[in-house]
């Protein structure tokens, strides 16, 4: 991030100098700051409300309930994990919390699942297949309600900001399923862990 940031600013100044737009570049600094405040002001409202609602979801046991429903699917996706292991539950919980946008709850549970996977991992320095699959699920960013995006749209005068919910869901759902499939595919293509006894057929 350090280099990207530096690069963005330096390029702007050089371009500004060459194009003769340096006055606008200078003005953009203040306009950018102004925009930041505007965005944050609109965010405070919705973030406050949404995290309030989500706290209720957390306490009411909805997360636990949904993750119970998802356990059988998690077992299929993670064949390396013993069927009755608590890791499966953690994985399902991690997914559910992510889907509800509870990032603060999802990460600790996800790390707990990682710790469980590390215990049964044969090479402690190298990621097991289950770990890669779990991370594929997490990096795909499946989320039911993109609350922040909706908030900013609404604040900028969008009449129907929730219009993006289903389209976004289609995109993120596809990316999520692809991520798992790609992880499965790569686990066949990539060399297995060195200390792993897993079969490797190419």
């Amino acid at each position: 991030m350090n280099y990207i940031w530096y690069f963005l600013i330096v390029i702007s100044i050089i371009f500004g100098a060459v194009n003769g737009t340096i006055d606008q570049v200078a003005r953009a600094i203040f306009l950018g700051c102004e925009l930041t405040v505007k965005i944050v002001l609109t965010l405070i409202g919705i973030m406050t409300f949404w995290l309030g609602i989500m706290k209720i979801a957390e306490k009411s046991g909805i997360v636990e309930f949904l993750s119970k429903l998802l356990k059988p699917i998690a077992k299929v996706i993670f064949p390396e994990i013993p069927k009755d292991s608590p890791i499966i539950g953690d994985v399902a919980m991690n997914f559910t919390a992510n889907a509800l946008g509870l990032a603060n709850a999802a990460t600790p549970i996800g790390i707990k699942a990682m710790e469980g996977m590390q215990e049964i991992n044969k090479d402690k320095e190298s990621a097991s297949n289950s770990m890669c699959t779990l991370l594929a699920m997490n990096t795909a960013g499946f989320q039911l309600i993109p609350a922040t995006v909706i908030a900013i749209l609404a604040a900028n005068g969008c009449e129907n900001p929730t219009q993006i919910i289903v389209p976004t869901l289609i995109v993120t759902g596809t990316a999520f399923i692809s991520a798992i499939l790609i992880a499965k595919l790569f686990s066949k293509i990539f060399p297995p862990q060195q200390n792993s006894e897993a079969k490797y057929d190419n």
């Binding site: 950018g32 973030m47 409300f49 309030g52 320095e125 990539f190």
Partner: protein, 179 residues
């Protein structure tokens, strides 16, 4: 009714329905919903305040970049390819930054919608692209770091492939619904 109108209606109902389900379940289970709401809402204030430095950093940088004309030059340079992909040049920074930093992506998104019509194709595409993104690099660092994994094997490649599919899907879906 076309698919588009059905999906519009579903989109419209999702949020109220989820709130209703959450509140009703909580009341039945005798959760003190008001106090719980306040407790969670306080976190919301903190999160919003904590994000200010990140947003200021990226929004200012992107505003400068656009004011300098650099984005336009890049757009002209890449326009043959971008046009074929139906990808407006202003989206480019968002497509890159969304895998790197969540707050940076938020900053780029804010910049995009403040300089384009909110109902335009660009704004919708940016919204959908941001709403479906997760910061791949951050997730990998946190999860692998927590358990001391040093060799990521194919995890990064998987994450980035999924990001790429996400970007492509965002364009296809936005064109279908709002194109």
């Amino acid at each position: 009714m076309t698919i588009k109108t059905i999906i519009d209606i579903v989109s419209l109902w999702t949020l109220p329905t989820i709130i209703l389900i959450i509140l009703t379940t909580a009341i039945i289970r005798k959760i003190p919903i008001y106090e719980t709401f306040i407790e969670g809402a306080k976190d919301g204030v903190k999160v919003s305040i904590n994000i200010i430095p990140y947003l200021a950093a990226i929004i200012v940088a992107i505003s400068m970049l656009r004011a300098s004309g650099a984005i336009d030059s890049l757009a002209n340079l890449l326009s043959p390819i971008l046009n074929k992909l139906s990808m407006p040049a202003d989206i480019l920074p968002l497509a890159i930054v969304r895998s790197l930093s969540g707050s940076a992506a938020l900053g780029v998104f804010s910049d995009i919608i403040s300089t384009h019509d909110i109902n335009s194709y660009v704004s919708k595409l940016a919204a959908i692209m941001l709403g479906s993104s997760e910061t791949t690099f951050y997730v990998l660092t946190v999860y692998f770091g927590a358990v001391g994994i040093k060799k990521y094997r194919y995890a990064l490649l998987t994450g980035l492939s999924a990001d790429f599919i996400g970007i492509a899907m965002a364009i296809i879906v936005t064109r279908f619904f709002f194109g």
